[in-house]
Symmetry: D4
Subunit: 247 residues, 8 copies
């Protein structure tokens, strides 16, 4: 909304006072009663819509996807169950589902991809989070290189892949258990690293808290952290950074 244009329309009488008052009070979103859909977000941020599927009832989720579909909006659903997928598919048949990352997405128009984001993991058990990060970054228009199972317990595995990783504009480091991958990577590259602790582990890993603390306490510069298992958040922010780049 251009404030001056709006005020001029008010001044000229082009816009009625009641309508103007309404505009000042409301922002353009659609109210489904149980959920507010923001159709203008894609326009504002250059990103599509995101839905956190976990815990949403089938009825609500199906209605949300149907509405976005009617507005030709790309949608990225996270933490969707297979059951949710099967029900949404009945209504929006172009929806696709990846069981590893649990992403439930509708892409009406494929976005051109640019730049490069590297997604690395400490172990193979971290893949479900890494794939959420990688697919989120791809959905929003980033090229992605995947470098999996390069944890610090066998650090020579990481070194042989460093050249690939250094080409990226932003690195996502996914690790559970001790979670040292993020700090080691930040010490070896010059680009920002987004670290994602995972809930992989047992005993004192405390569902990812150990890895989280390791990452927050890293002595290496250029490292920030997102919530445990939040591959989506890391992939999203990596894309924001990747988009800022010169090419």
């Amino acid at each position: 909304m251009d404030i001056y244009k709006f005020l001029e329309q008010v001044k000229s009488g082009e816009m009625q006072l009641d309508a103007a008052a309404e505009i000042l009070k409301n922002l353009p979103y659609e109210d489904l009663d149980f959920a507010k859909l923001d159709h203008h977000r894609h326009f504002r941020s250059g990103f599509g819509e995101v839905v956190f599927c976990q815990g949403k009832s089938i009825e609500h989720l199906t209605e949300i996807y149907r509405r976005f579909y009617m507005h030709d909006t790309n949608v990225l659903g996270t933490r969707a169950s297979r059951e949710q997928y099967e029900e949404v598919k009945k209504v929006v048949d172009c929806v696709t589902y990846d069981p590893l990352s649990r992403i439930l997405s509708v892409e009406k128009e494929k976005q051109e991809k640019k730049g490069l984001v590297a997604v690395c993991t400490g172990g193979t058990a971290d893949l479900f989070v890494a794939e959420e990060a990688a697919r989120t970054a791809e959905f929003f228009g980033s090229n992605v290189v995947r470098v999996y199972d390069v944890g610090v317990a066998g650090i020579h595995r990481l070194f042989s892949k460093l050249e690939d990783i250094r080409k990226a504009n932003c690195i996502v480091a996914v690790a559970g258990m001790e979670g040292a991958l993020g700090g080691v990577l930040a010490g070896l590259v010059d680009k920002p690293v987004i670290a994602v602790p995972t809930s992989v582990g047992y005993g004192t890993s405390f569902g990812g808290v150990s890895a989280l603390l390791t990452m927050l306490n890293s002595c290496a510069e250029g490292l920030a952290v997102v919530n445990i298992d939040n591959g989506f958040g890391a992939g999203y922010m990596a894309t924001q950074i990747n988009r800022l780049c010169k090419d």
Copy 2:
């Protein structure tokens, strides 16, 4: 090190085997016995040197600054005490000290500044962390806009400053107590937000843990978090992101 050039020198006999073996074993840093100084880091990363001053003895710290000074390296020291400043000044007289951020820096050559980083705080008690972030970003070559005391308890204060904030390539959100500023900002801007929880508060703020959890659990996209009171880490990463930008 160019691997091919190195190998050709070995092959041609230009380089002795012993020397080559030595090179393969060692990387170029200077060993002070109690600390390893990395003189090539500035070259590798495009950033100067950083020293974590807290807990270092006067003797060690003074020696570290003297060595860097001799190599014409810019140095940013964090968490320095006034006493440390006074002792280092006796040896390196161009050192400067800011008591609020506790930064102890030597800048032999001023860097040209580019782009824009916004540093915001929830309250005035968060300034000591915010200034560490802002001065770190400036030291490494970013322009910085400071937007202080705009916490969510009086959210209209934040809105009147939004236009300024939105011009930045990266936002640093510094907040203690409930720590909601980071999430609210990430919902209002399209650029990456680096959130810094502060130890400001009492009772269940648990020295910043409450703010940290708020930030990690934000529903807004485009937010990552650094350690409690780690203004330096946020300022550094914000600069990495700012440098990636087109202009």
Copy 3:
């Protein structure tokens, strides 16, 4: 019990010493052996009876509802399972059940509703707690306005509803994850806000602890907190406050 009336009856001999001693020792409740039913509570507090159903055996729960029913007492059961509902229904057929809030209630006489309580949520996943709060407030005689999915990650959604919220005498703010809704609301309205953290989230939300800490550490005045997921407690206290109001 009027102390003077009681003493006069003792003095006049109207009341036997044994009976008087008994009265001094016992208060009027009914002992089911496994549970003490307090039939005078409605009289004392102006509220009906409340039963915490979770963990109670079918036999005990059925017996409790039957007794209250015989005494013509309204009952609000919380955290009831569908199985409990089906068994109680066999004995007290006017019982009703809401699967979202898990409230199992008997209302023999509909209470007239007065005043206004607003129940707000951060997301749609918080509805199960919000509905417990809203239905509790209604059961005890408050009008309720529901304002759902207005979390701070998209704060414009909240602003368009502020006018409705400000009409209430007391606001219940229900939010999981970062839990910032309570503090933001308290900063925007002049009425007391009762914040309810929910267990919605993952990773460092720690089953609602993150939201709880956010709410306890809010810088906004006029905010108090109840236990995680305790919609009932918030709805009850909101009604106590609403009842105090002039109209």
Copy 4:
């Protein structure tokens, strides 16, 4: 701001577009650069201004009090040190200081008091928090009855004071260590109880966490909790509730 009046002024040309745009962007507060003062708050909420003194520099704090003083605003400062008091007094000589509650206040015009708030404590060590609550409630216009040292370890002491407590519109229950006072009070009165855990105790009291958990888990209805040692928050909310009352 009356939206219609504003729009009509724009339409009639009475207000310039530039001025109108400015109004839409800014809300009326004063920017001290390090702090935003909100002079209209008293008008909006019917309450005076509050300043969290702890951690603020003498310069900032003195300037804040001076400005409010110039605008004839009553100010309640919390967690002030004696040193802060002595410095502020040099600039605003009508400021008063209570060392127990650490309240530093300026009351230009005495408010008429109404209704009744009861402030109760478990022990005598909780008085510093209770006085913060009581004086806050008085500052904002409530009559207050103090009922101190009535903890549950000697529950007969509480019972002899119940009659006084029951006259209040709202009860503030302040307790450390086991913190059971809040729940016991809520079971004995029909009015809302705001419980304040205190940091009084040792060992597993964990600086008030034990009392906080006790209060959050109370089985009694009509109880909500504020942060550890937050007497101010409880006194403020008790006044909000007290003001809602019929007389």
Copy 5:
């Protein structure tokens, strides 16, 4: 073992050196390889044998019961499942099982009961723990009075039962959620109180930690605490105390 008698037998040659060495090395227990059974314990402590059934395999558990049965030892098994009961019953048919307390016991000779232990609970959901305490105390020879559902949220219920409770030599106070019953009881009686926190509750009850902390921080004298849900431990220690009594 009487040391002097033993030494005299060695001196007199009544006991061979090898046998004596063996005796000094071993104490009289039976080694089942996976478990050490102590047949003399009953003799030493005046108590029967106790088996922690949870997590034991059917094979191991059955063998343990069979051996004790063969030695005519009374056995009290705790935390037994119904499946374990059914399997043990095939081998030791006089075994009995109580599904509420999950006690699996063999009593070959009924013990005469003496003294009095009171077992109290805050709510009806705490019964599974209270019954473990009560039945343990009875198994080891105490008379038990049960006083259930007398929690502090409705403290008048407790007062009407005080006379019964005060007759006991030792009181077991079982409570979940806020867990205040232990402290209130200790303030009202002169006998030792053993408090048992239960895992009953939700949210910040943290599986009994809230109740545990309340009990540990009680200001009342004469209160000690056992592990969460450890009804057995409380019943056992209550009996030790009860046995010390004059009658």
Copy 6:
């Protein structure tokens, strides 16, 4: 108070209604405004008065001791500072102070001692807690045997003292760090053991939490626990148990 005697006096007119009403409302304690003194407690429980000195102001503490002194009551003050001692001594000159246990006591009439309580510690650093327990037990009339520095890291030291320990009616086990002493003792004696975790240790001892958890999780029967460093509580309860004994 004998209920029947009271009622008869009411009936006979011997007691005025006003006086009777007053009696029913108040229990016999003295109200100092900031503290309630219970002069009848000694009579009711057979124990003297206890004052928790820590955090009490000199004025309050002195007044409390003076009043008890005037009523000829023995007083045991815990966690008193030397400064408090010196001020109280000015008013009540028969007060005595033990700097190790920090007990500040007035004993007008020496109690005859009976039975036996054993107080054991793991190390010498635990003595400050052990002495609080031992002197409390002695104050309230128990004989005490002290067995110090017998921790499980050198378990032979404990065994040589077992005979002494086994003579006691109740054992107090005081230990910090790993805190295993309580469980080992309970496995070796047949009398109730009250375990006191101490804050002695560093790192993961977490101020006594490690020792507390060890004690709560002991597999040995006949063990209950009090708060960290709560020597007083253990000594008090040990005396309650010791008093129950036959001789």
Copy 7:
């Protein structure tokens, strides 16, 4: 890789520059894309390969075992499910599975065993962890003596086995609940003790955290700790130590 030999081959032209560059960049492992297999590890460390089976998909796990099998490598898989065993067996039929320790191993050539490791447990419920430790130590070539159910609650059981334990070069102490076994053993033997806390227990055992803290805070010298339930880690390190021994 012998650096000098490598450099001489480069110098002599025996090795092509491209090949040499490749060697410098890569270390000899096989890349399965989802997992990096290190076939030279056995050679480097004298140990076989270890696979953490938990959480690995059947496809990935089967492929990993197949590859190792093809390279004639012994494999020790930990935390394997029976289902995983059955699927791997279809491909590698010499695989064996132990359901108690959940070890899934392939031993192509039996290793000669040497030295002695003692594996002790506090209770029978700790066997699943102890067996993981014992079988790991045996797999890597240690003789193992098992001493089970010798916890400190009945410490005489431990003493009768001390002679056996003292023969070992390294002791593994496995215990849940209070976890005191490790410290008691370290006080009784002169060899290094590796303590393994187990998740056995309930209530405040917090899934093994209580036992972990006990072990970390032991006053006995010669004790180090591994993660909760990490029998594998203890068995591996015990073997490393056992191998260092003279015979």
Copy 8:
């Protein structure tokens, strides 16, 4: 004590029954009342005596050193203050003190050193713990190589020192903050690694808990952990392992 020899002496009458009974009851240690000194420990374990100085009174500490000195025993005191040193020196003038490690030792006869232990640190702030480990290992007879400031944030520094580290029989890895050094080292060497978390750090380092968790959750084999800042414990166990070695 040789059991057979003892028994023969009893049999032959060479030893009186009373004396024999005494021997069976007591182990040879000296009882100072406040501390038990074990003069035979050096004989049993081949190690000298250790005293934990922190928290011990000057009187107790001085007496302990004096007694050991009289028995010609070497003593290693840990966590001693300079004040303690100065007082002990007055009595035992050959005592030496190192202010960095806070070790207060008496070495009457220098032990010959053997084998090799490597002590590594992540940063220079960890030196106070590393020196405690190194000096402990030297005191008990190990050669020590110190490799300081080789943390993973600049991992090339570690690699250039690997050759030195690999020569040791046991490695002590000392690190605060993220604490990743232990796991990285264990992945690079074949010898047992004892990891020591330090309390160095701020914010979420939680006084060393973050580093502790990292170490416990390491995926690398051959790593065990001691308490936070427990350099002594690591140095002691490293020596135990070093002594087992062939040369």
